[in-house]
């Protein structure tokens, strides 16, 4: 099965632990973080993640976090690497 890579933009509350919250969910739900970009002032987090699992399984869990205001998928690329 091929790994799908996705780029997500999250808008979050600027609580001190918000990154931990998001990253914990990403790891626990079975996604690898390839890249991340965090702008504290804007509460904006851009994540590139990859997994064999479908993306909605992650975005639904992220959207549920009280500190996450918005989740959008920026683009999707299929990599040829297999797991």
């Amino acid at each position: 099965m091929s790994l799908a890579q996705h780029q997500l933009k999250l808008v979050v509350n600027q609580s001190p632990e918000v990154l931990e919250r998001v990253l914990r969910v990403v790891r626990h739900r079975g996604y690898k973080i390839d890249q991340l970009n965090w702008q504290h002032e804007d509460g904006e987090l851009i994540l590139t993640v990859s997994s064999q699992r479908a993306l909605h399984l992650l975005t639904n869990q992220l959207a549920k976090l009280v500190d996450v205001k918005d989740v959008t998928e920026l683009n999707m690329m299929q990599t040829s690497k297999s797991a």
Binding site: P16, E17, R24, A63, K64, V66, D67
Partner: protein, 548 residues
């Protein structure tokens, strides 16, 4: 006022009358405020007991349960209870003391990163960093705990904030629960129902949590769709309804599992396809279309793709879906299986057969009784052989399966419910010892809690698996060195007696039920008794084992 006083007055404002906790250094200002603050505080004998009592209180009452602990070890002792509440979507608010703000991050005495620990086992958590935010945070904590899919929330309060003069300014904004359905979706759902020839309702704990039992029963009465329930859904549809097939899954009824296997439409109501429910997922209701109804969007299409989903409040959705169907043949088929595989207690037992005892107990208790159980074989026997007419009357650690749940949860239920509602614990000899210190809470508060201790001198459920799947290698599951439970009870001024023969059961149950105050009935059973039927690990629910 001090932050600690604000906390107590806020709890009262929330309608909280009873809290469960244990004091310590970093929470001392709160205990000072509790001293004459007008709230009932129950001193549990371990913070895990306090968390489970808050959980039992919440589950038995539908209100938010509150527990309080000190920093460090007090807070870490709450974690299992929070995890249990998280898995079973129970609204509790845990208040923990934290070391003074200035020393956070210096490895101060009894400092632990409780916010960090809370991330995986709460719905949300807060550390109060600004004294004037305290009121705001408390209000958010209760709102989050209760709203949408309920869950546990932790509020960590540094000691200096408990002591500081605070303002009670409230400005509140929390996320609204997401509603994802419209008339078109409702129409599509109705169409699925209308086209189904063999529909089944798969009813989970969400119905009780949404306080939608009446709406569900209205829906069931109107549509006549046969139903099965999860462990946490028990009570949402009484077994006395003609097409209620009982619990499904690993230790479910054969009728429930077979009808789900054969259905052509699975209507999932506040349930989440737990692996103990589905068995091998690929063969679970594999010919069925799926209509999934839940408050939590993350449950939709998580493990099973749905054909139509309705995300929102069951209280609104169920009435909007109500129609009449003509499915007489299927109803009759399900009903026949229910009768065919009904439990049978007729064998002439000499020693005590726990399923029969629990069934007798169920018949002797009024329908408003609360039964709280522990984890293991006895838990499954409660689920199978006792009848419940409301989910809030059956307290069972379902998603986490935590031994030690039963006794403290019953203590919580005892405080949640009026004197006229009996509270009974059904525990096992293994589980009972996990929070046995809570007998001290029963003694201190003079609580009328009845305890039925099913003693097989084994960690029975694990022993059963060792027998069936590990070549009878009984590794560390033999408890022939149990304490003398009657003596143990008497150390806490609790009346107790032991029974060993089936003929003793009825009089002993009567004695227990009619006793004043707490009573422990120690029931010796045969260690070889197993829970049947059983879906072996990795098998389809249609392939149930019924004996060794």
């Amino acid at each position: 006022m001090r932050g600690a006083d604000l906390l107590v007055s806020y709890l009262k404002q929330e309608g909280i009358t009873t809290v469960f906790g244990y004091p310590g250094g970093a929470i001392m200002p709160v205990y000072d405020a509790l001293y004459d603050g007008g709230l009932k505080h129950v001193l549990c004998r371990h913070e895990q007991g306090a968390a489970f009592s808050a959980l039992g209180y919440a589950r038995a009452s539908g209100k938010v349960g509150v527990c309080i602990a000190t920093s460090g070890p007090g807070a870490t002792n709450l974690i299992t209870g929070l995890a249990d509440a998280y898995m079973d979507s129970v609204p509790i608010v845990a208040i923990t003391g934290q070391v003074t703000s200035a020393v956070i991050g210096t490895d101060a005495f009894q400092e632990m990163d409780v916010l960090g620990l809370s991330l995986a086992c709460t719905k949300h958590s807060f550390m109060v960093t600004d004294k004037d935010e305290l009121a705001n945070v408390l209000q958010q904590a209760f709102t989050v705990a209760k709203s949408g899919r309920p869950g546990p929330v932790l509020v960590d309060i540094p000691k200096d904030i408990q002591l500081a003069e605070v303002e009670a300014a409230l400005t509140i904004s929390t996320k609204d629960p997401i509603t994802q359905y419209d008339d078109e979706r409702l129409e599509a759902a109705k169409q699925l129902l209308a086209n189904a020839k063999q529909p089944i309702l798969y009813v989970g704990g969400g119905v009780g949590m949404a306080n939608a039992v009446d709406e569900l029963q209205g829906f069931v009465d109107a549509t006549g769709i046969p139903s099965v329930t999860t462990l946490k859904g028990i009570g949402a549809i009484p077994n006395s309804k003609p097409y209620a097939l009982g619990m499904l899954g690993m230790h479910g009824t054969k009728a429930a599992n077979l009808c789900v296997h054969e259905c052509d439409l699975l209507v999932v109501i506040g349930a989440r396809f737990d692996d103990r429910v589905t068995g091998r997922l690929e063969s679970f209701a594999s010919n069925a279309r799926v209509l999934h109804i839940d408050i939590d969007p993350a449950e939709i299409n998580k493990l099973r793709q749905s054909d139509v989903s309705l995300c929102g409040d069951l209280k609104d959705i169920l009435p909007a879906l109500t129609t009449t169907l003509s499915i007489h043949e299927w109803q009759q088929y399900c009903r026949d299986l229910k009768v065919q595989y009904n439990w049978n207690y007729d064998a002439p037992y000499r020693s005590i057969y726990a399923p029969k005892l629990l069934n007798q107990l169920s018949e002797k208790l009024p329908s408003n009784a609360v039964v709280s159980c522990d984890v293991g074989q006895h838990q499954m026997w409660v689920a199978q052989h006792m009848n419940f007419t409301r989910p809030e009357n059956h307290l069972s650690s379902s998603g986490l399966g935590t031994m030690g749940f039963g006794l403290p949860a019953a203590i919580g239920a005892r405080h949640a419910r009026g004197r006229q509602d009996p509270v009974v614990v059904v525990s096992g000899d293994g589980s009972f010892m996990m929070n046995v210190q809570e007998l001290g809470t029963i003694k201190r508060e003079q609580l009328n809690v009845k305890i039925v201790l099913i003693d097989n001198q084994r960690l029975g459920m694990v022993r059963q698996w060792q027998q069936l799947f590990f070549e009878e290698r009984y590794s560390e599951t033999i408890l022939t060195d149990n304490p003398d439970f009657v003596t143990l009870a008497s150390a806490f001024n609790i009346q107790a007696r032991t029974i060993t023969m089936q003929a003793d059961v009825a009089p002993a149950l009567d004695e227990m039920i009619n006793s004043n105050g707490a009573f422990l009935l120690h029931v010796r059973i045969n260690e070889a008794d197993n829970v049947w039927p059983l879906v072996p690990p990795g098998a389809s629910n249609a392939d149930m084992m019924e004996k060794v």
